[in-house]
Structure formats: structure tokens, C-alpha cells
């Protein structure tokens, strides 16, 4: 067992599970989507991205790309959240929540791809 692999797998899967946790619930209902969860998703995703840095293999490049996509989607979601609350002042209405959750949903797809790639790579090792 390799501790590095454990940490790596842990963060990638945690990114997906937290993302799923934020995403699930009534689509445009602010009551069902917790801001702390979004914060946790962003932090874990960033950590997962950095862990993927510096791998020169084709698989490593693809993993990094999926993570970057997820980061981008989540950061945009966070920016939307901050914008409606503090800048435009329209508050968390169902339209704003809808776009935040759909962005997080996109990030979740990227995270799913990431986990699938990780599983494929592990299955290919055969040991």
C-alpha cells in the first residue's frame, strides 16, 4: 500500500462525494444547498488539482484537465453566489440558485470522469 496513492484517491473521491452532497436537493431551493458544503467542495477540489500537478503521463494530463474544469465551474458558482448576495443585491432567488446548482452539477460531471479515470488506471495496474 502506498500512502501517496491513498491520499490521492481520498481527495479525488472526496471531491466527488462533497460535490454530490451539494448538488442533491430541490434544484432551485436555497434551503437545500448549503454554502459550507460549497466551500468544502472548492477547497477539496483545489487540493485534488494540486495533487495532480507534475504528472507527465497521458492519464495524468487528463486527470489534471478534469480537475481544472471542475475548479472553473465551482469558482464561477461561488462568484455567482457572492455577486447576487453582495453586489447586485437581488438575493438568493430561485434563478440565482438554479445557475449555482447547475454549475456545481457540471463540476460534478467532471469529478465523475476523474474518478472513472482513476478506477481505469487502477484496474490496469492488476496488482
Amino acid at each position: 500500500m502506498n500512502l501517496e496513492k491513498v491520499v490521492f484517491g481520498f481527495f479525488i473521491i472526496l471531491a466527488l462525494t462533497l460535490n454530490f452532497g451539494f448538488f442533491i436537493g430541490e434544484f432551485d431551493n436555497p434551503e437545500h444547498h448549503n454554502v459550507y458544503e460549497l466551500f468544502a467542495v472548492i477547497v477539496v477540489n483545489l487540493i485534488a488539482t494540486v495533487l495532480k500537478f507534475g504528472d507527465r503521463t497521458q492519464m495524468g494530463a487528463l486527470l489534471l484537465a478534469t480537475s481544472l474544469v471542475a475548479d472553473l465551474q465551482l469558482l464561477v458558482a461561488a462568484v455567482v453566489w457572492g455577486y447576487v448576495l453582495h453586489i447586485s443585491g437581488t438575493g438568493l432567488d430561485s434563478m440565482a440558485m438554479g445557475s449555482i446548482v447547475s454549475l456545481a452539477g457540471g463540476a460534478m460531471l467532471a469529478n465523475i470522469v476523474s474518478v472513472v479515470l482513476l478506477i481505469i488506471e487502477t484496474a490496469n495496474l492488476r496488482r
Binding site: 500537478f53 453566489w81 453582495h86
Partner: protein
């Protein structure tokens, strides 16, 4: 490109993780710790405000408790956050600075910049391995002719010299071991624009390795090598190295030629010197007894050529055991009068100082001159920086190894027909050579002429080829000045090659044919003027007929109307 970025990302993994962790802990704490607003009601900071606050706190840009004054609990957490984030930043910046200083990283950056400059080189180029005396002479001469070169040398000082050198064209250089194939490839060995490899390092083994690598990785590429021992020379020849230069043999050969036919020697000297330098004087080495100091590689080569000309040579050698001349040599260094007298300097006609020590060589020559002022003096110069003292010594002939090699290679690279011409010129009489020498000096004055090869093909002479399809063109017609066709260009045609047949000094009334190769020598600028005529149909028409026809669509249309 890849290598540098990946190295950077890999090294930045830990500092980035620390930064992310520090920021998220600080932000989360700020959000969780309750505060009070202006009216004293309990209030929780949102993520937006928390991130804003932590961002300017961590970078210590400024400080302020927003949007409401903090409670003591919030202030306590801010204290923790300040130390956490400042340490995280210090760690990250320290890591970046260490990475930039690291030799492996620097090396990766330099190699990447080198590879990029090779990719951007859109002209044909030569790879020169070794930038010592010979390499720098060669690169300078090539750059003066506008030919690109790429330099690899193991010594970082020499690469620094290259960067400081004031060359006419940009010459990329890499500090690396050229005998490693990866570096040769990086220098563009397999590039389509690479025209040849020149191995000039002072290590025969390295030159051998460079030659093998180049021949294996890019077979049709011409490879020119320097070799100083016979077995390495044979080894290189065995796998098809195109040209191998042994400076000692070349010099011995030239000295023999000067004894045998001074005119031919002068012709060789003129055509192979670096262009735009003053022409050398003719040399008349006397026949008679010669004294030869030093029986190393150089001494042996000289002795061989002297004896083949039937000239007697007395050898002076300090270590007869090692050099293999026991019994028939005078033992000593030659720097003292006794040894020279014992060798019979008094009735000798010439002396050759051929040891591998410049100070000794000069001392030998000066001592010998005092004993016998009429001597013909030849000395071997080992180091380039001793140029001025060798010039001041008033020698008749200096064997300068790097110059010999550089001139030989330059001739190979810039005028591929020249070696063939010189080979055929050897077979001619001294009288023939003397006549040619006087014709050359009449055309080019007192400077070393430029020598160039012209191939009548689509690339080098498109306009001429076009005309040849309809009409005959004679050699004399293209050797005229495009400004005034009654004037001849200051150049001379030395050889014509048509298929396997060659003709020395072709006459002016030879009809040219497509595919011919011609060797010319002439004054600076003559080559460019000749090329313009061969490229431009209008200029060529003027040379051939004297007619200046209008050009451009309108003028052509008007001309037809008349």
C-alpha cells in the same frame, strides 16, 4: 517547454497545498466565529467577506475590521490566521526562489531556450562541436559569409566567449558534451535544415563518437572531423566520415608541395585562406640540409614530406626512446646552441621547430638564427594567443594548427568543388600554377579571393535555366558586369564539372548546360552580382543581348503594340 513547466508544477505541489490549507482554515474560522453588527446584534460573516478579509490580511496589504468592528473572539482568530498565512506565504515564496536557483532547473531552462532557437533557425546551418581556437576561427569565418552555425562545447567559458563574440549572424551555443547523442539531436542533427556536422573537439575519442552518432542518426549528412592520430583517422574513415583532417599531415604535405612546386603551393595558399585577408607572399623553401627539432606527430609528418622531396633532414629530439628515432637523431631539445651545432646548423639551409611548446619553438628558432642568419625558418605554433610573438619573430612559415584545420573545413563547406580542383591542380606543372596565380592576382588585387561554387539548377540560376531552354549561353557571357556589359566581372572560372567530366580553367566560349557545376574565384561582391543576373531574367537579357526591355504588364503590352 514541457520539461520546465512540469518540473515547476511538481516542485510547487507542497507549497500550493500549504497555501490552500492555510487560506481555507482562516476563511472557515472567520465564517464560523460569531461577531456583532453596528447595533450589537449577533452576526455571522459570510464567505464573501471572509475571503476578502483573509486575502488582504494574508498578503499584509492593509488592515481593517470590516464590515463591523470585530469581537475579541474574531480578533483572536485573526491573530492565528496572520501567523498561519504569513508562514505559508514565506514557505511558498522560499520554495519558488530555491527552485529558480536550482542547477537542474536552470539547466532545463537553458536547454529549452537553446532548442527553441534551433527551431526558429529557418536557414540551413552547420553543427560545430568544439569552440576552441579552431572552432571559433571557423564560426567567425562562416558568419562573415552569412552561413549559420550552431555550437556545442563542454567548456562553459567557451560558450560565454561565444556569447560575447561580435558575430555577423546569431550563433546559438549550448554548453554540453557533444559526444552525447541527445545533445546533438537537440542541436538539430535530424533537422532538415542541418547541412553538416563538424567535429573539432580536442579529444579524438569524442570526435569519433560524434562522427559515428551523426552517421547513424542522419546518414546522408556530411561529417567533417579533426583527427590527430593515424588509428583514429582510419577508424573514422571506416564508417564513411566524409572528410578527416589531420593538421600535421596537411601541413607536412603543404611544405612538401612548397619545396616541390612553389607556384602550386601559392595557388593552394590563396584559394584556401580566409577571404578578405591580405594575400600571402610566395614561398621558396631551399633544397639542402634541414634541421628538424622535435620528432612527434608533427616532426614525423614533416620528415616524411621532406624525404619524399629528396631533402636530407637531421633530427633533434629530447626523448628518442618514446618517439622512436634512436640511433639516427641528435639527442637534446634544440634550444641550446650545442645541440644545434652538433646537428650541423652551420651548413643547413632550413630549420623546423616542431615541439609542442611555443616558448621552446621560438627559442630554437632565435638561437638557430644567431648561428646561421640565412636559414629558412619554420615553426609550429600551438596556441592561438601567441599570434603576436610568432608574427614578431619574422618566421618564413608558421604552422598554426587551428588555422590549417579551419581553412580546410571552410573550403569544404563553402566551395564543395574546391578540393577536387586542388587535387587536379597538383597534377599540373609549376609553370601552369604560376600563370594561374598571376591571373588571379590580376583579377583580385592583393586580397584573398572569395571562392564559390555555382550549380546551374532551379534554385541557383532560374533565369539562366529558362534562357538555356531556348538559346545557347556561353560562360563568358555570365561573367560580365550587370551595370555595364562591356566590363568583365572581377572573377575567374576555375573549373567546370559536367557529369563525371571535369575541365580546368574552362574557356569563355564554353556553352553552358543545365546541371553544370562551376567553381569561381573573385573579388568580394562579384559573386552577388553574378547571382543577380542568374536570378533575374531582365538583367540576364541585358547581359546576353545588351537590350534593356521594359517590364511589367503595361509596358509589355505597349511593347507588343508597337
Amino acid at each position: 517547454m514541457d520539461k520546465v513547466i512540469f518540473l515547476f508544477l511538481r516542485r510547487m505541489r507542497a507549497p500550493l497545498l500549504v497555501l490552500i490549507a492555510a487560506y481555507s482554515i482562516a476563511v472557515l474560522g472567520m465564517v464560523l466565529i460569531p461577531g456583532v453588527d453596528a447595533e450589537g446584534r449577533p452576526w455571522h460573516m459570510g464567505f464573501f467577506h471572509a475571503f476578502y478579509f483573509v486575502s488582504y490580511m494574508a498578503t499584509t496589504i492593509g488592515f481593517g475590521e470590516i464590515p463591523y468592528a470585530f469581537t475579541d473572539a474574531q480578533r483572536g482568530w485573526t491573530l492565528v490566521s496572520i501567523y498561519l498565512s504569513v508562514i505559508a506565504w514565506l514557505y511558498a515564496i522560499g520554495k519558488i526562489l530555491t527552485l529558480l536557483q536550482e542547477p537542474a532547473f536552470k539547466r532545463a531552462v537553458i536547454e529549452q531556450a537553446f532548442a527553441r532557437s534551433i527551431r526558429r533557425l529557418h536557414e540551413p546551418f552547420y553543427i560545430v562541436c568544439g569552440f576552441g581556437d579552431t572552432g571559433s576561427l571557423l564560426v567567425r569565418a562562416l558568419s562573415r559569409r552569412g552561413i549559420r552555425a550552431v555550437v556545442i562545447d563542454r567548456n562553459p567559458d567557451r560558450i560565454n566567449d561565444l556569447e560575447l563574440e561580435d558575430l555577423d549572424v546569431y550563433v546559438p551555443g549550448l554548453c554540453a558534451d557533444a559526444s552525447v547523442s541527445a545533445y546533438l539531436t537537440m542541436a538539430g542533427l535530424s533537422s532538415a535544415r542541418c547541412r553538416g556536422v563538424v567535429a573539432l573537439t580536442d579529444d579524438d575519442e569524442a570526435n569519433l563518437k560524434i562522427a559515428i552518432t551523426s552517421k547513424l542518426l542522419n546518414r546522408p549528412l556530411p561529417v567533417i572531423c579533426r583527427a590527430e592520430t593515424r588509428d583514429v583517422q582510419d577508424n573514422m574513415a571506416s564508417f564513411g566520415t566524409d572528410h578527416i583532417i589531420n593538421p600535421f599531415d596537411t601541413f607536412g604535405d603543404r611544405l612538401g608541395l612548397a619545396l616541390h612546386s612553389p607556384g602550386t603551393h601559392l595557388l593552394f595558399q590563396w584559394l584556401t585562406s580566409v577571404p578578405h585577408t591580405p594575400l600571402s607572399e610566395p614561398l621558396y623553401p631551399p633544397h639542402g640540409k634541414w634541421v628538424l627539432c622535435g620528432y612527434g606527430r608533427f616532426g614525423k609528418a614533416v620528415q616524411k614530406s621532406l624525404s619524399s622531396e629528396g631533402v636530407e633532414a637531421v633530427i633533434i629530439e629530447a626523448d628518442p626512446q618514446r618517439t622512436g628515432c634512436v640511433g639516427y637523431c641528435v639527442v637534446g631539445r634544440g634550444t641550446e646552441a650545442e645541440t644545434l651545432l652538433a646537428a650541423g646548423i652551420a651548413d643547413a639551409v632550413g630549420i623546423v621547430a616542431g615541439t609542442d611548446n611555443d616558448a621552446n619553438n621560438l627559442s630554437i628558432v632565435m638561437t638557430a638564427k644567431e648561428l646561421n642568419p640565412g636559414l629558412f625558418m619554420v615553426a609550429r605554433q600551438n596556441r592561438h594567443d601567441n599570434d603576436s610573438i610568432f608574427r614578431a619573430a619574422g618566421l618564413n612559415l608558421v604552422m598554426h594548427r587551428s588555422e590549417i584545420i579551419a581553412e580546410d573545413i571552410l573550403a569544404q563547406l563553402t566551395a564543395p568543388l574546391l578540393p577536387m580542383f586542388l587535387q587536379q591542380a597538383r597534377a599540373q606543372s609549376n609553370q601552369w600554377a604560376n600563370e594561374l596565380v598571376s591571373r588571379i592576382s590580376a583579377v583580385t588585387g592583393d586580397m584573398v579571393p572569395e571562392v564559390w561554387t555555382l550549380t546551374l539548377n532551379e534554385y541557383e540560376a532560374p533565369a539562366l535555366l529558362h534562357t538555356l531552354a531556348e538559346d545557347d549561353v556561353y560562360l563568358g557571357q555570365v561573367m560580365r558586369d550587370l551595370r555595364e556589359r562591356d566590363h568583365l566581372l572581377p572573377c575567374l572560372s576555375l573549373m567546370l564539372q559536367r557529369g563525371s567530366e571535369t575541365r580546368l580553367i574552362p574557356a569563355e566560349d564554353v556553352a553552358l548546360r543545365s546541371g553544370d557545376r562551376l567553381l569561381f574565384c573573385g573579388k568580394a561582391g562579384a559573386m552577388q552580382r553574378m547571382q543577380r543576373a542568374l536570378y533575374n531574367g531582365n538583367v540576364l537579357r541585358y547581359l546576353l543581348t545588351g537590350e534593356e526591355r521594359p517590364d511589367g504588364w503595361v509596358w509589355r503590352a505597349l511593347k507588343v503594340r508597337h
